[in-house]
Amino acid sequence: MIQVPILLADSEPSFWLPAPVSNFAGPIDGDFYFVYWVSIFFLVLITLLLGIFMWKFRTPPGARAQSHKDHHIVLEVVWTGIPIILSAMMFWYGYRGYVDMTVPPNESISIVAEAQKWAWNFSYASNGASIPGMSDDFNVVRAQVRSGEITAEDAEAAEAKILEKAGLHVPMGVPIEVTVMAADVLHALFIPAFRVKKDCVPGRTGKLWFIANEPGTYDLYCAEYCGQGHSWMHSKVVVHETVEEYEKWLEVAGSYDETLPFDENGKIVWKRRGCISCHSIDGSKKVGPSWAGMFGSMRKFAATGTPGEAVADEAYIQESIRFPMKKIAEGYPPQMPVVKLTDKELLWVTEYIKSLSQNSGGTVSPRKEN
């Protein structure tokens, strides 16, 4: 079993900032505190002056001012010049730090992060593995802790289990280049502990890179409003202490257990590849039609796609996954993104969908407990 480190990193979070665990955190935190202390200085200065003046020069109505001096060129120069100099310094530090963040080193490990409503998927170039963010499963654990159903220790263990086959995993000390993409609307990949963020723009690719400095598990968020599930896209980053550990994890995580029945693997595909975001398996209506009882039924198609009707057979399922815009189920919006499944995943999920017409039920994926 892969040991997934879930302990907090050695670096400590401060009052203002998360523990600095990437190569950028040091410089960025340095820039932050420079601006911070300049700001504190001026805030204290201005507040003190305000307070002193309010106290010293307060009068009842009708009094006269003690002085009517209304200009002083030296003062104007000083309080214009000093902010200019400080601003220039701030700009310069920011510019330097930013330029560093835009050019990944040549020897980076490449990972593709694809955002969709409302799930993450991470693809690793080295072995083609496609690993989901599984934010939904994390949300279930979080809800269970809050409701007292499980203890904090159980939650840690549950999260570690999820992370065996989910999340953004990277080795420590190696440059990681993440290409970010979006399948539908704007999203953004944000890892506060690393101080990195990049918008995922549909129709474009973006890049961010970092070197993780400490092993541990860190938060990964979506930081660009994307609708209903924006705050649910909360996954995790795992930093492995050694490259070997990382590679071992990758091998296991990217695999499917091919001894399992097709429909069981299909259920894993349903979760891993994000179908769960929009398609329920218990008949409840989400953004997309429920899979319960769908296979073999007569489907009506809206005019937003090619109108008409047809039986939902295997060919229909495969076409709907490969070309989601061709036939739009009546009563649903034309919003399904193209999800690139491998042939095996396609077969498994088709079998799973078929299985949902033979028996009823399935588990509902809870989002936010009441």
Binding site: F24, V35, Y36, T59, A65, A223, P333
Partner: protein
């Protein structure tokens, strides 16, 4: 004349031949009482009545936007669902509802309250008075602006009744192109409000250019006019770009033209460029007029000449110019080119300098002044403190490296509330208190006024300082639920929101009370020397019984306070 004209203006040659009076005749009807039919209000061309109607509308919309803010903050008190289950059954519907709440709050506050705010609700009233003029240059256009605002507000109310919108007030594509909510009516409403803003700005520019009295050169104007003028330039030049952006978004939604939605061949980042090209200058529309108010507040209530007049005047102009050059600082992580980001960051710092100059000049004005700590002055002082925080936190966001971390977190939310609300709205309320006697002819309870100001100040800081902290700790914005570690910050913030609300309700209470039973306001309760203080409170329909010559608005030496009446009278020149 046996009866007043419906517009009440005496013929100009009558006015010219009237002797300039040293004492002002305070008898006779005011603009409020001269006629009282509904149609005299509905069809009024009097800038004071139009300003008053705007004021009522804006304050009502502030209440509505505030209600949504309280809904949002109440919901966020816990990461668990708090009040959304009262209105929606499933977790998905509850999340959708929350998204609609924060969108509605933002859209109402930006487009219906803060942007019209000081210019329309206070500026309309005060501008001609400051100029010794009888009205603005185009009174009918002014009424038109008001009705456009009303129509825009009606569209927003329609949207509320149609289930609301959930796109965020920024309408980013592709989500806004595909959202199933009532986006197009909202866009039409904002489009119409944009024209209201454009025509107000146009009116003010022409008024200030062409209707200054004899002797009032540009550098003898009260600074509120410099601020209004700079803002008006922004309104006229930037708002049309919003108009075309919204039009194109409507076409993208309805026709799929392929400009902003990648599924139709468009570019979502192009939308952001178009949107922020207006919306960044727009935030200066929101802050520069309140800065103009603060100049008047600080000088008048310190009874001291404003320090650095020329620098403050030029800083308003500089802000207006630079505001057009920095829109890309909202897009550092969007994928725009590195070069552009660097340029935008550099110019962003230039925008902060003029604002700093103003703050120091205001402080210098207070030094050795005769400061009366009444409610209006307390709001002015609050502005300085809160704007300092707002402006300084903007620096963090302008630094490219730091912004990668802070963008789209609660740090941004706190920053813009400090500038838009802690400064913009506070300046507006300060101006409201400063000119309340002039507008209504009544004095409010100063004690309650100070309490209200302190409650708002404390509540505001309690609401938003925790947001800075959780933002830099990584709490993203527009989140319906959140990680447990942020809970304590959210709870503090929610409590602060309720304290603030209490302050606002108290303020509403004593202001309304003043209308019913407040003391009659003297002509010059604060001892100001700009022209509005040389006419009765409230003014007659024609503003001035005799057209005054320009005064030096910051010369307070010629005024004598009479404690019996609470009035500052002009000393008789011997």
């Amino acid at each position: 004349m046996s009866q007043p004209d419906i517009d009440g203006r005496p013929d100009s040659d009558e006015v010219k031949t009237a002797a300039a009076a040293t004492t002002v005749d305070e008898s006779g009807p005011s603009y409020l009482t001269v006629t009282n039919t509904i149609s005299s209000w509905v069809f009024t061309l009097d800038h004071k009545r139009i300003g008053l109607m705007y004021l009522i509308g804006v304050l009502f919309m502030f209440l509505l936007g505030g209600v949504f803010a309280l809904l949002v903050r109440t919901e966020l008190f816990s990461p668990l669902a708090m009040i959304t289950p009262l209105f929606a059954d499933t977790a998905e519907a509850q999340a959708d509802l929350y998204n609609k709440w924060f969108t509605t709050h933002g859209a109402i506050m930006v487009f219906l309250v803060i942007i019209p705010g000081v210019p329309a609700a206070l500026g309309n009233f005060i501008l001609p008075l400051l100029l010794g003029a009888k009205d603005v240059a185009f009174p009918r256009l002014n009424l038109g602006s008001f009705y456009l605002w009303v129509i825009g507000a009606i569209f927003f109310v329609y949207v509320l009744f149609s289930g609301g919108i959930d796109t965020g007030w920024t309408f980013y594509t592709p989500y806004s192109a595909e959202s199933g909510t009532a986006v197009i009516p909202a866009l039409i409403g904002v489009f119409i409000l944009g024209f209201s803003s454009i025509f107000t700005g146009l009116n003010f520019i022409v008024t200030i250019h062409k209707m200054r009295p004899k002797g009032m050169t540009w550098f003898k104007m009260p600074l509120f006019l410099w601020a209004t003028y700079s803002t008006a330039v922004i309104q006229v030049l930037a708002t049309p770009v919003l108009g075309i952006t919204l039009l194109l978004l409507i076409l993208e939604r309805s026709l799929g033209i392929g400009i902003f939605d990648p599924r139709n061949g468009g570019d979502p980042v192009l939308f952001q460029h178009f949107f922020w090209f207006y919306s960044h200058p727009a935030v200066y529309i929101m802050i520069v007029p309140p800065m103009g108010v603060v100049s008047e507040l600080i000088a008048t209530h310190s009874h001291k000449r404003i320090f650095g007049y020329t620098y403050i005047a030029f800083s308003s102009v500089a802000i207006a110019i630079f505001s057009f050059l920095v829109w890309g600082h909202h897009m550092f992580t969007s994928g725009q080119s590195t070069t552009m980001s660097i340029i935008f960051s550099g110019i962003t710092f230039s925008v902060g300098i003029p604002s700093a100059i103003k703050v120091f000049n205001w402080l210098a004005t207070m030094y050795k002044g005769a400061i009366v700590l009444n409610t209006a002055m307390l709001y002015g002082i609050s502005f300085i403190f809160l704007f300092t925080i707002g402006g300084l936190t903007g620096l963090f966001l302008g630094v490219l490296s730091i912004d990668a971390h802070l963008h789209d977190t609660y740090f941004v939310v706190a920053h813009f509330h400090y500038v838009m609300m802690g400064s913009g709205l506070v300046g507006f309320i300060g101006g409201l208190h400063h000119w309340w006697p002039k507008i209504t002819g009544k004095m409010y309870d100063e004690f309650l006024g100070r309490i209200g100001c302190i409650l708002v100040f404390i509540g505001f800081n309690l609401t938003f300082i925790p947001q800075f902290v959780m933002g830099s700790l990584g709490m993203p914005r527009r989140y319906y639920t959140y990680a447990d570690k942020f809970e304590v910050y959210h709870q503090l913030s929610t409590v602060g929101a309720y304290v603030m609300a209490a302050g606002f309700f108290l303020t509403a209470y004593y202001l309304i009370q003043s209308l019913i039973s407040g003391k009659k306001a003297p002509m010059n309760p604060w001892g100001g020397n700009s022209l509005e203080w040389h006419t009765p409170s409230p003014p007659p329909l024609e503003n001035f019984h005799s057209v005054p010559d320009a005064t030096d608005p910051y010369d307070y030496e010629g005024l004598e306070y009479d404690p019996a009446t609470g009035n500052y009278a002009t000393k008789r020149t011997g």
